[in-house]
C-alpha cells in the first residue's frame, strides 16, 4: 500500500530539524523519569495497599508513597507537554493522522488522566477513611494509567506505519481504528511498563533516604523492597527488551545489531549501563541512579533512531523549509534557565531546615 502522508503546512519550520529533534529527545527524557515513577509507583502502591491489610510495613509504604504521588503526576504531565509539542512540529503529519484515525481512544487519554489524577489524590487524602476500599481505589487508578500507557504505545507505533493508514481508513471508521495489537505495539507497551516498575523501585530506594530520619527501620525495609523491584524489573526488561528488539522489522533492528556502528554502540552502552546500575545498587545508590539515567537517556536516543529507521523510506523530516526564529528561541533558553533557577531556589528553601515565623 502506498503511504498517505499529508503535505506540510505552507509555513516554514521555526528552527533547523536537528535542533527540534534534539529538544524532542531531551524533553522526552525529562518526561520519562516522572512518568516511570508514576506508572510503576501506582502499581507498587496497589500491591502494598492490598498487602498492607495484613502487613504494617506495606501499610506504611502505601501511606508515605501516596503522599508523593500527586507531585509525581503533576510533573509527568507538565514535562510531557514539551516533547509532544516538538513531536507535533517535526512528525505532526504522521502523528495527527494516526491520532485522528484512533480519535476516540486518543481523546479518552485526557479523561483517563483526569480520573487517574483524582484517583491519586483520593487515595492520598482519604486512605484512612476509605479503609479496605483504598486498595480498590488505587487498583483502579493503576488500571487507568496502564490504559493511558497502552494508548500512547499504540499511537506511537501506529504513526510509524503510514503504509497502513489508507488501508485502515478504507476498512474502518475514522476515530475507531485502534489498529491490531501488533507484536511490536504490545512489546513496546510492556517494555515501557516493566521499565517503569524498575524505575519506581529505584525511586522507592531513593525516597527511603528521606524517611531515614523519622522512621529508620521502615526506611531500611523500603530501601530493600524498592531494590527488589528494581532488580526484578531490570532482569525482566532484558527479556522484554529482546522481544521488542526482535519484533522490529529486520531493516530497523539491523541498525542495532551490527549494521550501524552508532546504533549498535548505543544499544550495547545502554545495556552495559543497566547492568552497572543493577550491580552498583546495593553499594552505591548514587552510582546506580546515574547509570540508569544514562541508560534511559541512551534508550530515548535509540527510540528516536528506531523512528527514523522506520520512516526512512517514506518521510524526511528535514525536507521542510526553515526560517529560524532565533530571537524568540533565545528568549526561550533564557527563560528556561531562569525557570530552572527559580524552581531550584524554591526546592532549596523547601528542603532546608527552617522554622515557621508567622
Amino acid at each position: 500500500m502506498i503511504p498517505v502522508i499529508p503535505a506540510p503546512v505552507p509555513v516554514p519550520q521555526p528552527a533547523p530539524t536537528w535542533l527540534l529533534q534534539f529538544l524532542l529527545v531531551f524533553t522526552f527524557i525529562l518526561h520519562l523519569l516522572p512518568m516511570d515513577f508514576l506508572l510503576g509507583g501506582v502499581v507498587m502502591l496497589t500491591v502494598s495497599a492490598f498487602r498492607g491489610r495484613n502487613d504494617s510495613k506495606h501499610r506504611e509504604f502505601a501511606r508515605r508513597g501516596a503522599r508523593v504521588m500527586p507531585a509525581v503526576v503533576a510533573f509527568a504531565i507538565t514535562l510531557g507537554v514539551a516533547p509532544l509539542l516538538f513531536l507535533q512540529l517535526v512528525y505532526g503529519r504522521l502523528f495527527y493522522t494516526s491520532s485522528v484515525l484512533m480519535a476516540w481512544f486518543w481523546l479518552a487519554v485526557v479523561f483517563l488522566v483526569l480520573l487517574g489524577y483524582y484517583g491519586v489524590y483520593w487515595f492520598n487524602l482519604q486512605q484512612e477513611e476509605l479503609g479496605r476500599r483504598a486498595a480498590w481505589v488505587v487498583l483502579l487508578t493503576a488500571v487507568i494509567f496502564l490504559q493511558v500507557a497502552l494508548v500512547f504505545s499504540m499511537n506511537m507505533t501506529a504513526m510509524l506505519h503510514p503504509e497502513d493508514f489508507y488501508k485502515e481508513f478504507l476498512n474502518g471508521e475514522v476515530g475507531r481504528i485502534f489498529g491490531p495489537l501488533t507484536n511490536s505495539g504490545l512489546a513496546r507497551f510492556l517494555h515501557f511498563v516493566v521499565a517503569a516498575l524498575a524505575m519506581a523501585g529505584l525511586g522507592t530506594a531513593l525516597l527511603s533516604r528521606l524517611w531515614r530520619r523519622d522512621a529508620p527501620e521502615f526506611a531500611a525495609w523500603a530501601h530493600r523492597y524498592g531494590l527488589r523491584w528494581f532488580h526484578a524489573g531490570i532482569g525482566t526488561e532484558l527479556l522484554v527488551g529482546l522481544w521488542f528488539l526482535f519484533s522490529l522489522p529486520v531493516q530497523v533492528r539491523g541498525q542495532f545489531l551490527g549494521q550501524s556502528q552508532v546504533g549498535t554502540g548505543l544499544l550495547v552502552a545502554a545495556v552495559l549501563l543497566a547492568i552497572v546500575a543493577v550491580v552498583a545498587a546495593r553499594p552505591s545508590l548514587a552510582v546506580s541512579t546515574a547509570a540508569i539515567v544514562g541508560t534511559i537517556s541512551l534508550m530515548a536516543v535509540i527510540r528516536h533512531l528506531v523512528r527514523v529507521a522506520y520512516l526512512e523510506p517514506y518521510f524526511d523530516p528535514g525536507s521542510e523549509p526553515v526560517r529560524g526564529q532565533w530571537v524568540v528561541f533565545t528568549l526561550f533558553v533564557l527563560l528556561l534557565v531562569a525557570g530552572i533557577a527559580t524552581v531550584a531556589w524554591m526546592l532549596y528553601v523547601f528542603f532546608r531546615p527552617a522554622s515557621r515565623t508567622a
Binding site: P14, T97, F332, V343
Partner: protein, 451 residues
C-alpha cells in the same frame, strides 16, 4: 483535506473542543486570579494579625490545588488534544508559527506547578516571608502563562501584519493581544472572587464568614467592573465582519452575545445585593448560583468569540474547514475529491452521486456540521429542494457570510447537493421541481426562502 476527518456523532468536533475549552477557561482564569488572591490575602492576614483569616486562606489553598493543578492542567492539555483531532491542519500551522511561544509558556507552566506545590505543602515548612514569595512566584508564572497563550489565541481572530510578514513578533503582538489580555486579567480577578465565595460560604465561624464573604465579593466586583473597559477596546480591534456577525449579522451569535452581557450583569447584581451588601445571609447555595451564572457567562462569551471568527479558523488565512483561500482556485479546477487525501472516492460517478456528495461533505463541512446533532446539516437543509440547495451551495459565502465558499467542481457541488437533498424530502408546499430552477424564490438575509 490533508488529514482524515473525524465525525463525532451529535456533538461534532467543534462542540467537543468547545466543552473542554469552556471548562478549562473557567478554571484556568481562576488559576491566575486565585494565584493573586492567595498571596494578597495571606499578606493581609499577617498585616491585620488575623490568624482566622490565615486559616481560611490555608484551607482555600487546598481547594485551589485540587481544582487548578488537576482539572486546570489536564483540561488545558485536553484542548490541545481535541484541536489536533478536529483541526489538525490549523493546529499544525499554529505550532509552526508559535512553537517557541508555547515552549516559553511551558517554562512558565513548569514554574507555576512547582510553585503551587511548594506553596501548598510549605505552610508549615516555610517562614512567612518565603511562603509569600513562593505565592508571588506562582502568580507571576501563572499570569505570564496567560499572557503567552492569550497572544496565540487572539492571533487566530486578528492575525494582523503576520499575513504579510509571517514573523513571530507580528503574529504574537497582534491587534487583539493587549485588549484581550486586559479582559482576561480582569476575568481572572473576578473568578478569584467567585471561587472564594464558594469556600467562604463553607466557613463555620459567622464573624469570619461575613468578613471573607464581603472580601471575596469585592474581588468579584472589581474584576467584573474592569471587564467592559478592556472589552470595548477588544471589540474595536475586531475585523468588521466579526463585529457585524455579533451585532445582528447572524441572529444566533447576536443572541449569545446578548446572553453574555445578561449573565455578566446578573453576576454583578447578585454579588452586589447578595454577598457584598448582605454577607451574613450568604450560603453555599447562593455561591453556587453565582458560580453557575459566571460559568454561563464564560460559556456564551467563549462561544461568541469562536463564532465571530467564522468563516475562518485563522482570520483571512484559513477557513473553518481547514482549507485556505489561497488554494481555492486550484481546488475548484482540480476538484476537492482529487485534492483530498482521505476520501473513499476520488471521482464523481453520475450513478452514485450521493456517495461522492457524502465524501465532499466529510471534507468540507464536517468540521462545523454534524448530521443530526449540533449544527445539524439535516436540520439546516430541511424543506429545501434540489435547486434551492444548489443555489445555496453556489452562493454559500455570499448568502451566509459566516460560511466559507464551496470548493470544488460543478460535478462535486451537484453531488453534494444530491446527498443533502437525500437527507429528507422537502414538505409538499416547498417542493420545487428541477424545471422551476429559474423561479427560485428570493432569499432573506439568512438564506431561507421568503414566505
Amino acid at each position: 483535506m490533508n488529514y482524515p476527518v473525524w465525525e463525532p456523532p451529535l456533538l461534532g468536533g467543534g462542540l467537543i473542543i468547545g466543552l473542554i475549552a469552556i471548562l478549562h477557561v473557567f478554571v484556568s482564569h481562576f488559576a491566575v486570579g486565585g494565584g493573586l488572591f492567595l498571596p494578597v490575602t495571606e499578606r493581609k492576614a499577617y498585616r491585620d494579625n488575623n490568624p482566622a483569616l490565615l486559616e481560611y486562606i490555608r484551607s482555600h489553598s487546598s481547594f485551589f490545588v485540587l481544582v487548578v493543578l488537576v482539572f486546570g492542567a489536564v483540561s488545558g492539555v485536553g484542548i490541545w488534544w481535541s484541536i489536533g483531532l478536529v483541526n489538525p491542519q490549523a493546529t499544525a500551522t499554529l505550532i509552526h508559527v508559535f512553537v517557541w511561544g508555547w515552549a516559553i509558556e511551558w517554562v512558565f507552566f513548569f514554574v507555576e506547578i512547582a510553585a503551587a506545590f511548594i506553596y501548598y505543602y510549605g505552610w508549615d515548612r516555610l517562614d512567612a516571608q518565603t511562603h509569600l514569595r513562593v505565592g508571588w512566584i506562582y502568580f507571576g508564572a501563572a499570569w505570564a502563562s496567560l499572557f503567552v497563550i492569550n497572544g496565540i489565541l487572539t492571533f487566530m481572530l486578528t492575525p494582523g501584519r503576520w499575513l504579510e510578514t509571517q514573523s513571530f513578533a507580528s503574529a504574537f503582538f497582534n491587534p487583539g493581544m493587549l485588549p484581550s489580555c486586559l479582559v482576561r486579567t480582569a476575568v481572572s480577578v473576578a473568578l478569584a472572587g467567585v471561587y472564594a465565595l464558594v469556600t467562604a460560604s463553607a466557613v463555620r465561624d459567622v464573624g469570619l464568614r461575613t468578613e471573607v464573604t464581603r472580601y471575596a465579593a469585592k474581588w468579584l466586583l472589581v474584576g467584573a467592573l474592569a471587564i467592559p473597559v478592556g472589552g470595548l477596546w477588544y471589540i474595536s480591534t475586531l475585523p468588521p465582519m466579526a463585529r457585524e456577525i455579533s451585532m445582528g449579522g447572524a441572529p444566533a451569535v447576536t443572541i449569545f452575545a446578548g446572553l453574555s452581557l445578561f449573565f455578566s450583569v446578573l453576576v454583578v447584581l447578585f454579588t452586589y445585593f447578595g454577598p457584598y451588601r448582605n454577607p451574613r445571609h450568604f450560603s453555599l447555595t447562593f455561591a453556587f448560583v453565582i458560580a453557575v451564572m459566571a460559568l454561563s457567562s464564560t460559556a456564551v462569551t467563549e462561544w461568541v468569540r469562536e463564532a465571530v471568527r467564522k468563516p475562518y479558523i485563522i482570520y483571512d488565512y484559513m477557513y473553518a474547514n481547514n482549507l485556505r483561500p489561497g488554494e481555492m482556485e486550484r481546488i475548484c479546477q482540480l476538484g476537492i475529491l482529487r485534492s483530498a487525501l482521505w476520501v473513499r472516492v476520488h471521482e464523481v460517478d453520475p450513478q452514485a452521486l450521493e456517495t461522492a456528495g457524502r465524501e465532499v461533505f466529510r471534507v468540507e463541512c464536517a468540521s462545523c456540521h454534524t448530521l443530526n446533532g449540533y449544527n445539524s446539516i439535516r436540520f439546516a437543509v430541511k424543506g429545501w429542494g434540489g435547486p434551492m440547495i444548489d443555489y445555496q451551495l453556489t452562493h454559500l459565502n455570499e448568502l451566509k457570510g459566516f460560511m466559507p465558499p464551496f470548493a470544488g467542481t460543478e460535478e462535486e457541488r451537484k453531488a453534494l447537493g444530491a446527498w443533502l437533498a437525500s437527507l429528507g424530502p422537502p414538505p409538499p408546499n416547498l417542493e420545487i421541481s428541477p424545471g422551476e430552477k429559474a423561479q427560485t424564490p428570493p432569499l432573506s438575509p439568512e438564506g431561507a426562502p421568503r414566505p
